[in-house]
Structures are given as C-alpha cells and as structure tokens.
Amino acid sequence: MGYTITEKILLSHVPGAKTIAPGDFIKAKVDLCLGNDITSPIAIREFRSLGRKKVFNRKRIALIPDHFLPAKDMKSANQAKMVKEFAEEFGITNYFELGQMGVEHALLPERGLILPGDLIIGADSHTCTHGALGAFATGMGSTDLAFAMAFGECWMKVPETIKLCFTGKPRKWVGGKDLILHAISDLGVSGALYKAIEFTGSTIEMLSMDDRFTMCNMAIEAGAKNGIIIPDKITEKYIKSAIRKYKPSRKGYKMLKSDDDAVYAEVREYNVSKLEPIVATPHLPSNGKPVSELKDIKVNQVVIGSCTNGRISDLCEAASVLRNRSVNPNVRLIVIPATQDIYLEAVKEGYAETFIRAGGVFCTPSCGPCLGGHMGILSEGETAVATTNRNFVGRMGHPKSFVYLANPAVAAASAIKGTIAHPADL
C-alpha cells in the first residue's frame, strides 16, 4: 500500500523507522522549529528549566518577533527583549530583529528556510502555511518548542489525510483565499480535526506560490494538523530563487509526492469554475457566503495583510482595485505588507502610493491587528473586512466587534464602497 506525501515526510524523519501508519505515535526529528514574541517567552522559560547549555542546533531555530513589534507597550518590549537576549546567549542564527523582521510565515519561505520534504514545527498555529512548499509543517505550543530547541525532535500522532481535489478555472477576482474559505465552509471548523489536508487538482497546479501559501495557511481553521501541496516546477522555481538570493545554510530538498495507491480518509471534489468570491461572516471562518449575498453591511475598517494575504500578489490585486479610486470617508484602510522585501517591492511597483493616495495607510510588517494586537483595533460595534484568517468573537478588538474574512480584491472594493462589495460592482 502506498503512502501520502505527509506519511512519507514523517517516516523519513523517524530514525530507524521502516513503516508508518495513521495513528502511530512518533518522535520525529525536526528540520526547523520556530516561535514569535508571544509564544517564545514561555518556550524560553521552559527551555531554561532544563538547565541545558546549548540548543540542539543554532541554525535550526527561528525566532521572529512579529506579533507585537514595533513594541506596542512596555510588557511587549520586555517580551521582545527576553527573546533577543535568548537568541544572543544561545547563538540563534535566525533571529530577526526589527528591520529584518517580517510576518513569520511569509518571511521564512522568502529566506529559503523552508524546503520541500522538511518537517517544520512552530509555536504558532499558522505554521501549516509552509505545507505549500511540499513540507510537513504544523503548529504546536510553546512547551513543544522548548522541547524541540533542546532535543531537535517532537512527539506527534501520524494523521490520516483528507484529499481535497479542485478542478476548473477560477473566475476573475477568485483566488486562493476563496478556494480555502469555500473548503472550510464545506468541512466546518473541526471537519479536518487531527487530519492532514492535501490540496490537489488542476486548479491547484495552476496556482501561484502566494495563493498556495494562502490555502495551506488556513488549513488549521478546519482543525487540520497540516495542509500540504505536492511540490512541482512552480515550487522549485520559488525555492531556487530564495536559495540564490538568501543562501541559507541548508540547501538540500526532496520533491516528494503521494503514491497512486496512497490511502485517504476522505476525498472531496470541488469544481470552482462558477465560484464567486467568498466572505466568511462573524464569528467563524466556516461561515463562508458568496459576496453577492452580503449587501449593505457597513464597514468601518479594512485590513489587507497578514500571513494569509500579505504577499506581493495580494497587494498587487488590492492596488489594482484601489488605483485612481478613493477610500470611503467612513472607512479606515490599513495595508500591511508581510515582509520588508514585499514592502520595498510594493513601493517600487507603485502600490504603496496607490494605497496612500486612495486614502489608506501603508504600514511596517507586523501581525498587528490580525489577532487584535495593535495597529488597528476595533471599537465596540465596529465592523472590519480583513484578508486575515480568523473572525472569532473579539478577534480584532472589542468582543462586540465584527470581522468578515475576504480576499484582497473584495477587501479593497469594500474600502471604496463603505459596505461589503464585489470589485466587479464598483
């Protein structure tokens, strides 16, 4: 019987193992473990409790203070300082101070630190983003990170895989965000609980890396352990470019794929040729509705950014909608490129100017408002349209505020109209 790509990667990371099966408990070797400024402090405290003099490998840990930096208050500054001091003390190569820092799940692939065939664990639930590169990548907790920093391994249960097969050519304005919101609405927020999601099909094979990252990013919102896409020419082009530019210490990668006779827990098929842009209404990411069904919903704030949709093609799409148009005077438009490279490219391409001339703001890379941290918190009764990944109660601020999740074009159109809008209706 054949293996899925997820099973193959896990098997290759368990020393001495000859076979693997869903349900097995394994101790897997980790290629990279990561944390941010809110999850690392606990990991550091737990790591120190072991009294070890060294981390397992200085080059295989990444610490990215992306949540509350630039330090939003004294307590956040203290946490950031703790992470920086730990990085210095233990010689962590991949520590990203402000200036280099970007949203972790956009930054790490950009820097060539994630490779096909890798096993990645991160103290952040959206670590699953990196499955887009044909790696096994999963979110875990701070104590898991501490254990990995000490021993270079983690415990986990081998998941079954759900195959989601997408066919059909998406219409204009429909992209990775809509495909994943459509899937999550179908599965429900726990429909993929403990499972791997493998995204396949002709639609996926045509998707850009940015769209693939968007899809894998939100696998967790269906409860999945990881999301993954079989690596192909598009993946390899991206990897080679990142390696060439940033020369990471690890350059070897494995282009794996699922066997034809691999066993799946479930297969679902979606023909997306008639799909409209999807918007997830409060307060669950699974409340997806076609944008045309949402009329007259007044919007106070629009956020374009995050590890879901803060990449250059997202900004390009938003800028194409906003060019020579104005943001509604009742709306605050906040655009946050996910990394410094993306920031500079957005400036070079004129997108930054487009956002500002339209009446929006263009900010330094940060997770910021996505989790209700800073740079755009909602007040009581306010409504936001965001290209982010969660819309639970209080996610972006006041418990009595409302977040609608959408793709960058719908977000931009909504900023212009002042109500939730399809870009084609402008």
């Binding site: 999850t39 307590k75 875990m140 898991d144 000490a150 927020v189 969660r390 639970f392």
Partner: protein
C-alpha cells in the same frame, strides 16, 4: 487521584481567543493570565470559579490559536480539569504538555449541567456526578501520553534526558 468540583458549562468551538484574548498576551505569568481566563466567553467566569471546579464543553474545545497561555490560564485559575466532546489538537497537546488534565467524553458532556457537582478519577479516566449513579469513561490516552501525564508534563518527562 480524584478531582472534585462544580461544573461550568460551555458550548462548541470555544476558541483560544475567548479563553485568553490577545490583549493579554504581552505577559506569560500564570497568575496574571488567570485573572482573564475565559474573559471573552464569559466575563463573570473568573468571579464564579472556585479551585477544583471543572470546565465542561462541547466539540472542538480550544480551537484557533496555539497560544499555550490558554491552558495555562485555565490551570492557574484553579480549574482542576476540562471535559469536552472533543479537543482541538493544539490545545490538546498543550494541556498534556503543561499538566492540565483533560478528558474526552461526549456522553458526560451531554449529561453534565452548569452547577452540577462532579468527580473525576484521573487514573481510570472516569467521570461521574457526585451521586455516582452513572460513571462515564473518558477516551483512553495512548501509553506515550500517559507517560507525559504521569510525569506531570513534557518538561518533567524530559528532565534528566541528555
């Protein structure tokens, strides 16, 4: 070991943003986090909860963010254990890693109501109301996880390892 307390009941999909909102993630001290436990799910929870009390919830408890601050807050506020129909996977492993007892039992969740007095036998994974009329067996933990739980958490399990 037996845990005893009264039930605080919650529904499905209680997420970690509700358990400990991001505005409190600029600290990691358990006592600080405890003050805001379940704040966006039930603002009065911290005033109602007493040491030993039990959280009983529906499906997919602890979904959303990986923040370990969530089980830390629950443990620090004095909750003795969480019984749920099912747990989100990152919350599940975080709870085990920090030594917060969790039990999966859809049958118990159906029956237990707010204010009920409940007893949980940790070793046997058995849940009952204090009248002990019916005993519900929680889902068994695999051996590896039992080892971590017995040690008191992942770091305790790891101590002494080279």
């Amino acid at each position: 070991m037996k845990l005893k307390g009264k039930v605080h009941k919650f529904g499905d999909n209680v997420n970690t943003d509700e358990i400990i909102p991001a505005r409190y993630l600029n600290v990691s001290d358990p006592e600080e986090l405890a003050k805001h436990c379940m704040e966006d799910a039930n603002r009065s929870f911290v005033n109602q909860v007493e040491p030993g009390d039990v959280i009983v919830a529906g499906e997919n408890f602890g979904c959303g963010s990986s923040r370990e601050h969530a089980p830390i807050a629950i443990k620090a506020v004095g909750v003795s254990c969480v019984i749920a129909g099912s747990f989100a996977r990152i919350f599940y492993r975080n709870a085990i890693n920090i030594g917060l007892p969790i039990f999966t039992s859809p049958e118990a969740v159906k029956v237990l109501k707010k204010g009920d007095k409940v007893e949980v036998s940790v070793g046997r994974g058995e849940i009952s109301k204090s009248d002990r009329k019916t005993v519900y067996k929680a889902e068994n933990f695999p051996k590896f996880i039992k080892d971590i739980i017995r040690a008191g958490g992942l770091m305790a399990y790891a101590k002494g390892r080279k």
